[in-house]
C-alpha cells in the first residue's frame, strides 16, 4: 500500500464534510470501505461508474471530491475520466438514445436510423435537445447484432428498427414521462 492512501491531513473531517455535499453517502462509504484495500487506487474506474450512475455524468465538483476522498491526484482522475468513452463530463437529457454503429448494424442501415434521429430531434451526436428530454449518442455494438439495426434508449434495446419506427419509439418516451420498460417478471419456480 502506498502512503498516499493514508489520511494525514488534520482537517480531514472538514474535507470529508465538504465531499459529502458533492457525493451521495453510499459513494462516500464505498470509497471509505475500499481505502484500506491492497491496490486501492485500482477502484477508481468503479468509483467513477458509480458517480455517473448517480448523476448521469461526472461533474467537476464530483471529480474533485473523488480525488480528495480516494487520495488520488485530480490529474489522474480527470485523465481516466476523459480517456474512456463511456464517461461523460456534461449533463445529459432525461433519456439517452444510443444508435449502434457496430458492423452488423452499419451493414443493415444504421446510418439511416441516425439520420432520422438527428432530423427528428434536431441534434447531433453528443448533444441534448433544448427541452432536456433526449441526448443522442452512438455506440459500438451492443452485443445484439442478431437484431441489427438496433438502438438503445436508456437500458432498453430495440431491434430491428426501421427509420419510420423511430417516431413511434420516441413518442413512447414523450408521452410517458417515465418510459415503461417491460417489467421483469421472475419465474414462479
Amino acid at each position: 500500500m502506498s502512503h498516499c492512501c493514508q489520511v494525514s491531513t488534520d482537517n480531514w473531517e472538514d474535507v470529508k464534510a465538504k465531499c459529502l455535499t458533492a457525493l451521495p453517502e453510499d459513494i462516500v462509504n464505498y470509497i471509505d470501505d475500499h481505502k484500506g484495500d491492497e491496490h486501492a487506487e485500482s477502484n477508481l474506474i468503479a468509483i467513477l461508474h458509480r458517480v455517473q450512475r448517480h448523476f448521469g455524468y461526472l461533474g467537476q465538483e464530483q471529480m474533485n471530491a473523488v480525488a480528495q476522498l480516494a487520495q488520488i491526484p485530480l490529474a489522474k482522475v480527470t485523465g481516466v475520466a476523459t480517456f474512456y468513452h463511456l464517461f461523460r463530463l456534461q449533463p445529459r437529457g432525461k433519456h439517452v438514445i444510443s444508435v449502434c454503429m457496430g458492423t452488423a448494424c452499419y451493414v443493415k442501415g444504421a446510418e439511416k436510423l441516425s439520420q432520422r434521429l438527428m432530423d427528428e430531434l434536431g441534434i447531433h451526436y453528443g448533444e441534448t435537445t433544448k427541452d432536456g428530454m433526449f441526448s443522442l449518442d452512438n455506440s459500438r455494438c451492443l452485443g445484439t447484432c442478431g437484431l441489427a439495426p438496433v438502438i438503445m434508449v436508456d437500458d432498453q434495446v430495440y431491434g430491428p428498427v426501421t427509420p419510420s419506427e423511430i417516431t413511434i419509439i420516441l413518442e413512447k418516451y414523450i408521452k410517458q414521462p417515465r418510459a415503461a420498460a417491460p417489467k421483469a417478471a421472475l419465474a414462479v419456480q
Binding site: 467513477l48 463511456l86 452499419y106 451493414v107 452485443g143 437484431l147 417491460p182 414462479v188
Partner: protein, 727 residues
Amino acid sequence: MSTSVTQFFEGLQSRVLEATAARRLQEKIVIQVGSATCEHAAGSLDVMDEFVKHVKSSGRQDVVLRKTGCTGRCSKEPIVGVTVPGQLPVKYERVNRELVHKIFTSHIQDGAPVVESALDDSLSEIHKSEFVFCAGVRCGLEGENVMMHKFAQKLRDRAPHPETIKVSKVGCFGACSQEDRGKCAYILHRPSKAMYRIHSEQDLDEIIATQVLGGQLVERLLATDQLVSKDFFDMYGDVAFFNRQSRVALRNCGVVDPESLDEYVTYGGFKALGTVLTNRDPQWVINEVLKARLRGRGGGGFPTGKKWQMAFDQKETTRYLICNGDEGDPGAFMDRGMLESDPFNIVEGMIIGAYAIQAQKGFLYIRAEYPLAIKRIQNAIDLSRASGLLGQDIMASGYSFDLEIRLGAGAFVCGEETALIASIEGERGQPGLRPPYPVEKGLWGKPTCINNVETFANISAIINFGGDWFARIGTAESGGTKVFALAGRVKHTGLVEVPLGTTLKDVVFDIGGGVQDDKPLKAVQTGGPAGGFIPAKWLDMEVDFAPLAKAGSIMGSGGMIVLSEEDCIVDIAKFYLSFTTDESCGKCTPCREGTTRMQEILERITIGTAVMGDLDKLERLAQLCQQTSLCGLGRAAPNPILSSLDHFRDEYLEHIIDKRCRSKKCVALIRYVISQELCIGCTVCARNCPVECISGKRKEVHVIDQERCIKCGQCFQVCRFDAVERG
C-alpha cells in the same frame, strides 16, 4: 486431502439431486423462456410475464416456468420451449403476448402444438419420437449417414407407423472416441433421451425390435459415456439451424437456467473442478490443455496450455488470472452469450485455470455495455463462493482462489492485454511495451495469465472428456470448436459453433441459410476491425487460424459478417478504419496519425475526389502503420484495407477512375435521373423530395435539379413506375 474433495463433490451432488428431484420436473409440463440481452430486447420479459399470468389464472399446478439463457438463434427470438412429459419438446419462435395465449390454450390446455409458430418450421411434420444420428464425420460407422439410411429403410419396412418416427442427424454429439473411430455410431432417441452406441447393422435390428416394436429401451446398447452436447440436442436436435453445429463451449446455452447453481451442477457442472482438485497436480491440467491443442479464442490464437505453462514456471508465486470479457469487435457477441447464458461454466473454467497456474486471485474484465452479463457473473461468483466452490479452501482441497469483476468503460484498446492490465489497475487503458509479457510481469508486476471468455468456456469440457478428445474435434493444428457470431446480410443470424476446419460455405449457407433475399454473396468479413475480407470464390476454405491468415484475414474473436452485392467494399473498409481511428489511444504516431490519414484517403475515394496517386499512398501508409505501431490495434488496423485491395482492387479503381460505386452505397457517386420514357407525371416524387428540387407539371415528365439534389433516394423509393433511375 483428495478424498475430502470427492466427499465434498458427492455432498454437493446429492444435495442438488435432492433439490432437483423435489421439483419433479419430469412429471410436469415445463415452459422455458429464453432470457438474455437479445431475448429481452426482442420482448422475452413480456412473454415471461404473460406466461406467469396464464399459469396463475389457470390454477394448474403441473405447469412450471423456467428461465434459460440464449441459444443464439437471434433473428427468431424470443424463443420458448414447451416440454410435455413423454413428448418431443416443442420450440416456438418470435413469441409475443398473443402467441403466449395461443400456446397456452392450444398446446398446454388442449395438447395441440401451435404448428405454424414452431421454431424454423420444426413442426412441419409432427412425430411421436425421433432417432437422431451423429452425422459421423469423425466417428461414424461405415462413413457418413450410411447407418442412418439403413435404419430409415428398416423402419419403413418393419414399423407399423413409420411416419410417426423421425430419423435425422446432427453435427456431432461430441463423442468422437479414438478407439472406436469408424467402428461405432451414436444414436439419440427422443423423447426418452436414451443414447445408443451401435457397432453393427444387427444392433439397428435390435433397436427396431426392442424399442420401436416393443417400447423398451435396449439396455445392452446404451452408451455409458457422457456426451458433451446430448442435452443440447435433446432440446434442439430438430432445428435445422442447430443440428449442423457442434456444441461444446455453448452446450449449456439455452439449456440451463443461468442463475441457478443447482441446474449447472445437474448438467455436470463442477465435476471437472472436482477432478482437478482430486488429482492435485497443476501440471496434469496443463498437459491436458496442451494435448487438447486449445488455442486462445480472443484473437491471437496463442496455445493456452503453453501460456499456462509459462506462468506456472515463473519463480514469483503471487500470480493473477484474468478473463478478457471486453469483446470489443463491433459485430461479435459470443462472449456476451456465454457470460449471460452459462456464467457458472466461465467461473469453473477460471478456477481450473487458476489452479493450473497456481494463482490466488482472478479478475473478470467485462465491458460496462453488458449489464446483464455483469449481473449474472456476479451472481455466479456469489453462489459459488457460498457453496464452497470459490474463495477459501475450495471444495475442501486446501486451495484458495477468489474472483472479482472489473468493469471496462468503453475503450476498444482495453481488450489488448497490457492496456487491460492498466485499466484494472485503475489507469488510462494505454498499451505498454512487450516484452516483458504479462506471464512474466503483468498485473502489479506479477505473473499474469489473460485468456478470453470462450477459451475458459472450453476448459471444463476438456477436463471432463480429455484433451485428446478435444483435439480430435478440430484440425491437426487446433483442437475443438469455434463460436462465430454470424451477422450482416445472412438469413439466419446468431451464434454458430462448429469444429475448427469446417468450411465457410457450411457456416454461411448450410447453417446461416445463405444470403438474405438470395442475393449473390460478395464476401465474408472475419475478425472485425483487425481482420479482412474473404471473397465469395474462396467459400470452400476451411475456417482455422492458418488458412484465414493466409487469405489476409484473421480468426479474431469470431465475428463473421456476411456481405452481399449490396455492400460496397470500400465503404466497409472505411467503416472499419473510422472505428480504429476513433479507438486509437493516441500513444504512438504511426497509429494515431496513420489511421487518420488513411481514413481521409478512403473518404476521398468514396466521394469521388481521389486520384490514382492516393491508392499508392494508402498502401504505403497501411504497410507503415502495420509495421511500426506499438500495439495490436495499430498493427492490425490496416488489415481491412490491405485485404480489400488484394481481393477487390477493381472496386477501388472504379471509385477513383470511373467515379462509380457499383453497390450504390457511396452517396456522392450516385445520381438520380428521371426517365423521359417512363415518367407519367404523377407528381409523387416532387411532393416527397425533402429539398423540393424536382419540377414538372402534372402529367408531364419531371426533372431533377442535380445541383440541389441531396441524394436522399426518396424519389427512387416512392416512384411506382420505376421512372427514377439510380446510376
